[in-house]
């Protein structure tokens, strides 16, 4: 069946470092992917998305890379800040319902 998974459950970085969060997906027919940030007690917040006809997309301090050959997705956060501390989920959109991975907790220390 469909599944979206993450390689690392927790990532600890120093403030100012770059962070990379990885995600593997299993449905090769997936054509839309989203990264969400979830802070404690809140709902998921959209960060960035990418469609399958792209390899890379950049936002403000964030970049998403898509490697369809190995079914891998990554989120890069530049100059990580304490406010980036949260759980990050990748999600695959299949006919509008989202299939989420289990999440990676990002801890940013000053």
């Amino acid at each position: 069946g469909e599944s979206v998974g993450l390689h690392l459950p927790t990532l600890s970085v120093q403030e100012g470092d770059n962070s990379i969060i990885n995600c593997a997906y299993s449905n090769s027919a997936s054509d839309y992917f989203i990264w969400y940030k979830q802070e404690s007690g809140k709902g998921p917040q959209f960060i960035i998305d990418i469609r399958s006809n792209m390899d890379k997309r950049q936002g403000q301090r964030v970049t998403v890379l898509l490697n369809k050959t190995v079914k891998h997705l990554s989120l890069q956060i530049a100059a990580t800040q304490p406010g980036d501390s949260a759980v990050y989920f990748c999600a695959e959109s299949g006919f509008q319902k989202l299939v989420f991975g289990t999440g990676t907790r990002l801890l940013v220390s000053p």
């Binding site: 007690g41 959209f46 319902k97 989202l98």
Partner: protein, 114 residues
């Protein structure tokens, strides 16, 4: 409104009692989704609506769960005869278009079944 609103924020029910959760999607959004998040881990899709019509209900435990989106009313998710394993945070999301469109999430309702 500009945000998805969910009420109540917290709900405590004894096992076997009914629970009803509400969601007001962003004005102008045609699609509403319900997800269940257990233990702050992955989300489970429950059901989606296109306006007041059920679009996809493949995730719904049909024996006890039901949902509605009626015109001019908040959408609702109802659980009859709650069980301990229903304890979770229930999120509602809405989107404007059908495919490849951002889903905006509400703050969630935390249901605790005792």
């Amino acid at each position: 409104g500009e945000e998805v609103a969910q009420t109540p924020k917290h709900l405590v029910r004894g096992e076997g009692q009914k629970a009803k959760l509400y969601c007001a999607p962003i004005k102008g959004h045609s699609y509403v989704f319900w997800y269940q998040q257990v233990l702050k881990n992955e989300f489970k899709f429950l059901i989606s609506f296109q306006n007041e019509n059920v679009f996809d209900e493949t995730g719904m435990p049909k024996e006890r769960f039901s949902a509605k989106c009626l015109p001019n009313s908040p959408c609702s998710l109802e659980i009859q005869a709650t069980k301990l394993e229903d304890s979770a945070v229930y999120f509602c999301a809405s989107s404007q278009a059908y495919q490849e469109d951002e889903q905006y999430f509400g703050p969630g309702t935390r249901l605790t079944v005792t």
